[in-house]
Structures are given as C-alpha cells and as structure tokens.
C-alpha cells in the first residue's frame, strides 16, 4: 500500500470526487440522521429552561425566558455533582479493566485452537441473555459475601462483568479481521505469545478496542439497577440515580429534572467526542502502518 501524508486532504484517500447531484441522496440521509439524533437533546436542553406548566402544556414551544433556576434547583435537590464524579471514576476504571482483560480471552478465541473452544465461548456468551431481573438477587448476595457491597470495587467488578460478553464479541470479530500473515510473520521472527499479542495484534485492532471501550463506557455510564441495589452511601452512588430525585408519586419538578439530564449528558457527549477523535487518529496511524 502506498503511504499517504497525514494532511487534511491526504487522509481522504477514499473520498471520491463525484458530481454534486450524485451526492444528494447520501447528503439527505446524513441530514436526516443528524436531525433525528439532535431532536432529543435539543428538546431536553430547551425544557430545562421552561416552567413545569410549560413543559406539561406545550411540547414544542420555545422557552419564554432563559433562567438557570432549574439548574439551581437540580443542584439543591440532588447530589448530582458528587454522583457525577463517582460515575466518572467507576466508569473509567471498569471500562479500562474490562477492555484490557476481556480482550485477552477474545484473542484466544479468535486466533488459537484448543479443545472445547466453541463450547466455552458459547457458555461465556450465555451471559448476554440472562435476564437482568434474574441477576439482581444473586449478584447482590455474591457482592455482599465478597465484602464488596456499597463499595467502589464492587460496582467496578459488576460493570466489568456486565460488559464482558459484548467486549468478547467485538474484540473477537476485530482479531478475526486481522490477516493471518501478520501473526505468522511475527512467530517466524521468533516472537513469543505475549509479544505477538501486545506488540503485533493489539495495535492492529485499535478500532475494535475503541468501539468496545465506547460500548462498555456508555453501558456503565447509564446503568441504573445495580447502582441502586449494590450501593447505600453517597460516596459510591452514580449519576443515573440522581435523575430519580425529581419525580415522586405525588410530586414532580420537571424543570430541575431536565436541567439535571442536561448536566449529566453534555459532559458525556464531550468525553465521547474527544474519545472518538483520539480513536480516529489512532485508526489513521494504524491504517498507514498496515
């Protein structure tokens, strides 16, 4: 493959110069996707500036005044900042550990042969289809007996496990996509198993790693049930729980709720966007190397 310089035009190796009218359908499709995706977040942000009565009377109207009262109330009613910080720590840790540890197994499943491989993989993949309601009770008891109830490691462990099957699938597919010749070449050069994995295979699956990390991150970031069941103290509680503070059976504060959602979501979008940029950088470099 020819090397291309990493300039603005240079990385557009696949960009076709086609007549404008031929690009219209693709452009319209992109536009549609953008509109569909932007509507919910815009609606949430708009609502955080409306009064309860406005939110419940006119879904599409614009706010009449922009006051930050909802944000003030959200911060007052729920420990959202504290929970946000906990979420960042727990999500980052569990995502990193999950992707690092589970990729090992994914590699073995994708690239080696051993007896009972398919059976073992099928058993591990079963984790994906055990209903959440069935998990709740036993997981509470396991985590409690391990002495990890209401602790940060407890939640990290559970989130690592919850994302295990997904990471396994994504990374197995990524490793499977790497041409066998590269791996063989490494072995012929006398590289060991560990070296081949960390220095040859892992760098070639950056795209998969990044995708798996994104999935694991988002799943852990939004997880509610185990955060509720496994924690008691504000020191380990996570962001999704804070959103329940604004509606109760006979009372509600929608303005504060949407302010809270905005505060919860905007930083996550930012984290995600930065992360994606990192990912695509590494992809370009990876592709050049390949």
């Amino acid at each position: 493959m020819t090397q291309r310089p990493l300039t603005a035009r240079g990385d557009s190796g696949l960009r076709e110069q086609r007549p404008f009218h031929a690009r219209i359908p693709a452009f319209l499709y992109m536009l549609l996707c953008v509109l569909v995706a932007l509507f919910p977040i815009l609606w949430v942000v708009m609502s955080s500036f409306k009064s309860n009565a406005q939110i419940l009377s006119s879904a599409v109207s614009l706010p009449t005044a922009y006051s930050f009262e909802g944000y003030r109330m959200a911060l007052e009613v729920s420990p959202i900042l504290r929970y946000f910080f906990n979420s960042v720590v727990i999500t980052m840790l569990s995502t990193f550990l999950n992707v690092f540890l589970v990729s090992l197994a994914a590699y073995v499943f994708a690239r080696t042969r051993f007896r009972g491989k398919n059976l073992l993989f099928s058993i591990l993949a079963l984790s994906m289809v055990i209903p959440m309601t069935a998990l709740m009770q036993p997981v509470y008891q396991v985590i409690t007996s391990l002495g990890l109830a209401d602790s940060l490691p407890g939640l990290v462990l559970v989130y690592m496990a919850l994302n295990m099957p997904l990471t396994l699938l994504i990374m197995r597919a990524s490793f499977a996509g790497v041409p066998a010749s590269l791996e063989e070449a490494a072995y012929i050069d006398g590289a060991g198993f560990m070296y081949t994995y960390f220095r040859v295979m892992l760098p070639l699956t950056k795209g998969g790693l990044a995708s798996a990390a994104v999935m694991a991150f988002l799943n852990a970031w939004n997880e509610f049930t185990f955060a509720l069941v496994l924690t008691k103290s504000a020191a380990v509680r996570t962001l999704p729980l804070s959103l329940s503070y604004f509606t109760s059976q006979f009372s509600f504060n929608y303005t504060a709720l949407f302010a809270a959602i905005t505060m919860a979501v905007l930083p996550s979008i930012l984290i995600f966007a930065v992360f994606q940029e990192q990912v695509s950088q590494s992809l370009v470099i990876g592709a050049v190397k390949g």
């Binding site: 009565a53 419940l56 009770q137 008691k232 109760s248 009372s251 504060n253 929608y254």
Partner: protein, 422 residues
C-alpha cells in the same frame, strides 16, 4: 507493678466504657427524599432523633429516590434476608411480604408497655398494622383524601358548590362540559392514582356491599355489581369528561391539567395544597381559586396507611434502637411536624390540628371542616389491593376508556390478577 496494673485496669475500663458507648447505627433507606413532599419532614425527624440520642444511636439515611426503586431494592434485601432495621410499608404491603418470611419484630409488648404509644392506635390503625392479634407496624400518615375543585370554573358554569350526591355530581359534569370546560383530571399511568380515587369513592358509596368491599384487605373478587357499577361510571368519565391525554397520562399530566385551569376537579390528598401556590406549576393567585370537598354521598378516604415496621436483627440492641426510632417517627410530635410542614393529616386522633397547620395550609382547615360531614370512610383501593393489580390497572384502563373492554371484562381482569397471588 502496681502502677502497671492500675494502668492496665484503666485501659480495660476505657475500652469497656468505649464499647458500652459505641453508637448503634441504624441504616434507614427511604424514598422520602428529593421532591417527595415528605422529604423535609423526614430530614427534620432524623436530625432531631440523632441529636436526642447523640452518642448512642445514629440513623444513617440511605436515599432511594423514587417509590418504585425503593420497593425493588427492599424486595432484593428481603429475599437476601438482609433487611434494614426499619422499613416503611406504605402502600405496597411490605408487612405481609416480610411477615411471610418471618422477618418482623412483634411490636405488641413495646406498644402495651407504653400507654402513650398505645393511645396512638385507633381501631383502624390497629387493623392495618396487625396480623393475628399481633402489632407489627406503627402508622404516621392519615391518608385523608377528598377532591379539589376550581371555584372560578364552577362559577363560570353556574355551579354553586360541590355535589352532595352522585346524581348531582354527574349533572355538574354535564353542566361544565356544556360551558366548554373539561370537568375532570384523570390518569391511567403509574397505577392510575387519581382515577382509582374516583373509582373507590364510587364503590364505597354504592351501599353496604360496596362498603364491605372497601373494608376488605386484598380483595379476591372484583366481579361484584358495586365494582362493575363504579367501572361503568369511570368509563363514562374517560369518554366524556376528561382531557384527551388522560388515557396514558401520569399523575403529573392530571395535576398539570388542574393546576393550569384546564380542568375543574382533581381527586387528591391535602399534600397537594402546597402546589397551588407554587408558581412554577400554577399561575399566580391560583391558590385562591381552589376549593376542597369530600366526595358525594358523604364519603372521604380516611384510614391510616400501613406504617413503619421493625425487622429482626442479629443484635437485639439494634432492634431496641429501631423500636425507639419507630416510636419517635410515629409519635404526636412527628405527626405534628408532618401536618405543619407537609399538610399531611395525622393517623392518630391524639394529634391536634394546630393553628400553625391551618395558617400554613388554609385549605387544610377548610378540608377538616368538610371532613366532619363524612359519614362513610375507608382506605384507598391502592392501599388494599394486591400490589400486582396496580400494574393491571395501568395496562387495562386505556382499554376500558376506549371501549375495547367492557366494565365486566375489566373486573374480570382484576379478579384474574388477584388469583395470581394464590
């Protein structure tokens, strides 16, 4: 040597004293946080209790925002036989569940040993909190409920005041409708609280059989003329007298319809009074337009709901402390705090309706007067029905409303749902 011995002795004494003084920690998970109207009440009681027992007992609050989340978590803890020392049974019948697994402390000896506590129990409170002659719970809330109406809209339609009979009530609905006013706020989602209040009122006032039905704990048979008769009227209310979004609507939608002056009536308890003067929810001056009434035929919901329960603990000192906490949280002082801060009418007749409460919530004073006219009283259907029926109400009411289901079929669906608890 002597000095060493005396030093050792001193150390032992300090350690011994230390362990005797070790604070007992009471984990208390509660959903009464955040925007829950009882949140300030619970916060104050916890603070007071902790100050009162400083160095001996400390309540550590675990905030579980959202009622449904609370129940989910308590069920997990219940299955794991790992319940916190004090739980709140309200509305979800945790008493029978916990008792079935033999996890509750019998409060009878404690209540009998304390005349003041014993006096807090009236017959109804005793009934909802006892099983087989043993007391397991202590109530704090009266759950006294009527309905609110918009005096301005009533005036516009030429209606003098709240109806005394159902015939008059339905005539008023027609009058309001003819004047271009949507008469009722109703809902179906989240167990259809507002709608089920009308339903219960209709059942309770349909004669002796209806009253008997409402007095039942966990009724099994909904195929009775009283229930079906009430459902017929509920169906009509959905089809003729309420907002378009009542079907599928949550309590929030129903409340907003009333608070924004769209509808003329909403059934709900006095804890809603505070919302009438909350300008993020209602227009300025709305509170002055609201009147309060008991239901037609002299009916009002007025029965304490299942209260605080103490669960079995390995350490009997923790159990003792938990009993103390429950006693404090359901005593005259606690109920007065709830009355004055939240507008919650007390469970016990021992609690005086104070002037402060009447000043804080002028409508409450009006409601207390109206209550004197109540000749039929009962618990809400939600407090007595099997908890799984709450979901069936939400799922099937849209069908009843649209006519896809007859009242008979709806009653049958509830009966079948009840049978699933056998």
């Amino acid at each position: 040597m002597k000095r060493i011995l005396s030093l050792l002795l001193a150390v032992v004494m300090v350690l011994g004293l230390g362990s005797a003084l070790a604070e007992i920690k009471l984990d208390y998970p509660t959903f009464q946080v955040g925007v829950n109207t009882a949140a300030p009440v619970i916060a104050q009681l916890v603070e007071e209790f902790n100050a009162l027992h400083a160095g001996q007992v400390v309540i550590q609050v675990e905030e579980i925002p959202g009622d449904a989340n609370y129940i989910d978590k308590i069920k997990v803890l219940l299955n794991a036989k790992d319940l916190p020392p004090v739980i709140y049974g309200a509305g979800y019948n945790l008493l029978d569940l916990a008792l079935a697994s033999d996890l509750l402390v019998d409060l009878t000896p404690y209540v009998e040993a304390d005349p003041e506590w014993q006096a807090m129990y009236n017959d109804k409170a005793l009934e909802v909190n006892s099983r087989d002659g043993k007391i397991y719970g202590s109530s704090a809330e009266g759950n006294t409920i009527g309905y609110f109406y918009n005096k301005e809209l009533f005036e516009q339609a030429g209606i003098a005041g709240p109806a005394k009979t159902w015939d008059e009530f339905f005539a008023q609905l027609d009058t309001l409708k003819a004047a271009g006013i949507t008469p009722l706020s109703m809902d179906t989602a989240d167990s259809a609280w507002v709608t089920s209040l009308w339903m219960g009122a209709l059942i309770a006032t349909s004669g002796e059989a209806g009253q008997a039905f409402m007095a039942q704990m966990m009724p099994d048979d909904y195929n009775t003329p009283e229930v079906i008769g009430a459902l017929e009227k509920i169906q009509k209310m959905f089809q003729e007298y309420t907002t378009f979004d009542a079907v599928g609507g949550k309590y929030e939608n129903a409340a907003n319809a009333f608070l924004s002056g769209q509808t003329a009536m909403i059934a709900n308890g006095p804890w809603m009074i505070g919302d009438f003067s909350d300008t993020t929810k209602a227009p300025e001056g709305f509170a002055d337009k609201v009147g309060v009434a008991i239901y037609p035929e002299g009916f009002a919901y007025d029965e304490p709901i299942q209260g605080y329960l103490v669960t079995r603990q390995q350490d009997s000192a923790v159990e003792q402390a938990a009993v103390e906490m429950v006693k404090y949280f359901t005593g005259v002082h606690a109920q007065t705090v709830a009355l004055e801060k939240q507008g919650m009418l007390p469970a016990s007749t021992q609690v005086e309706i104070t002037q402060t409460a009447k000043d804080n919530f002028p409508l409450l004073a009006e409601f207390v007067v109206a209550l004197e006219g109540a000749v039929i009283r009962s618990a809400t259907t939600q407090a007595t029905m099997y908890p799984n029926l709450l979901d069936i109400m939400s799922a099937e009411l849209p069908n009843l409303a649209s006519g896809a289901m007859t009242p008979e079929q709806f009653a049958q669906a509830l009966t079948e749902g009840a049978a699933k608890n056998k």
